[in-house]
Amino acid sequence: MTKRNTFTAVAWVFCFLGAASLPFLTSRYQISLLTEIIIFALYGVTYNLLLGYGGMLSFGHAMFFGIGAYTAGILLTSVTGTPFWAIVVCAFIITALAGFLVGSLLLKVKGTPFALLTLAFNSLFFAIAFKWYAVTGGDDGLSIQRPNIDLGFWTLDTSNVSTFYYITLIVLSASILACWYFTRTAMGQTVLLMRENENRMQFIGYNTAVSRLILFTFTACFAGLAGAFYTLHFRFVSVDAISVGMTTTVLLLTFIGGTGHFAGPLIGSAFYIYLQDYLSEYTDRWPFFMGLIFIVMVMYAPGGVSGIIVSGGKWLQERFRSPKREIEGT
């Protein structure tokens, strides 16, 4: 057990170091893609906490991503001189509030009605962003400048692609780590109970309304953080960020990566962004191929890429260990 944990920790550290050394090896364009991958990885991880861990199928996760994105966009266009950290903190707090508010209205709804109601709330927020032109810029969106980070002794120039990549890597990796820690805590275990048997939980003393609300708020605020970095990364935010299409994106990438494993959305994000980038170079019909890949995955590999890796690993283990196990068994 501890051996495995050490292995996982070492693997994570290597991933992080690998990601940190990439700017020295690749082009500016690749670094920009990597930044995008990290942003969508966090977005996917929060979605997977809902779907894979909590068993709650939401069609409205983009509302939190979008609220975070607009918080950053609006702060940077309406309030002059907003420091970087303030944007991050505000996006986090405002989406937490939104998550709490929407979550508390949805306490009693489960299953398909829950999916549809989240969709309805998403559409409501979309309508607001679309119509409130004075603040959100409506269809035109908002263009922003990234603020530099003043550390007192040193100013980080965020317009540099690599610098912004490192900032994203550090802040969002820490957030992903926080999400991972969440799955290990008492609350994280409670989330699993929710997925498995919400009815029985109540009879051993759990208030399922409280646990739902905590999960919903938690995933909302980290999705909002990802949204804020989305705006900072593209230096632009439009209704795309809060559209149903953005929910579709997170659903696709989470499912492609696999909902059965924490790392699923990380893989899914890399897979999704690269594939989209690759396909759109050759064809502007990439949604067609996305749809095709999606159907094939649902039919033949519902565990996603991480599911394939895990079962491949098990298969190898069986193959090499089976004679030994037979001896142990007898």
Binding site: V109, L119, A120, P287, L292
Partner: protein, 287 residues
Amino acid sequence: MEEVFVFFLHGLAYAGLLFLVSSGLTLVFGMMDVLNFAHASFYMLGAYFSYMVLSMTGHLWLSMLICPVMLFVIGALVERFLLRKVHSGGHVHELLLTFGLAYILGESVKWIWGNYPLSITIGGFLSESINLFGVTYPVYRLFVLLSSICVGIAMALILYKTRLGIIIRAAVNDRTMVNALGINVPLVFMGVFGFGAALSGLGGVIAGPFLTTSPSMADDILITAFVVIVVGGMGSLLGTVVASLLIGELQSFGVLLFPKFSMALIFLLMAVVLIVKPSGLFGVEQS
């Protein structure tokens, strides 16, 4: 006063169209508990097929006969070769599959017919206007309403008066039991899914000359159709009728009264209904 009457009629016509699309959805949903995200894509296909038939023959009635049959076949094939295979994976998989399918159909349409609206024009009496209680009103909108009433009555008769209807309703309640009675339930399901697709396609045929035929028409109606079945109560035909009327009128008067928030209004309605009665207006409360 006259304006109110016109908007009331607009609302009725839109409600008729909504009913055509969402009745098929509610049938499929009531039976298989699958939220079919590709349902509106069938509606879109219906409109495009109708565009083809009309440009070749010029007869709307021909289109209304041929297109639903084509969609029935497509729907049945989708059920047989795609949906059925992922049934064991649970609702989430079924739902995600139709999601992917909607993507593919949407892109295919853009590929074949181009990413711009097509205009369908029909000649004859249907394109004229008549005087109705002192108001001049386009005949076609009344035709939309009339068609949906006919479909609604036909569906009610089939579901509640024929042996097929009894089998369908029984299969909804207890799939294994009906299967054990020697009825080929998978075949019934395939048929019903096809029928749902055909209804949706008919909606598309009728919507073509009334709204614009474009690749985004699926997205435009999909969410509204979902709202209809959720507000009406999932799987309830009566609920679908009532909710279609409610939302059709709300949409119509919303445009008149609060043009900025007409879109938000129906979601507010849905949110209120679901928070007060999660099973919808005519839905059965699940314990």
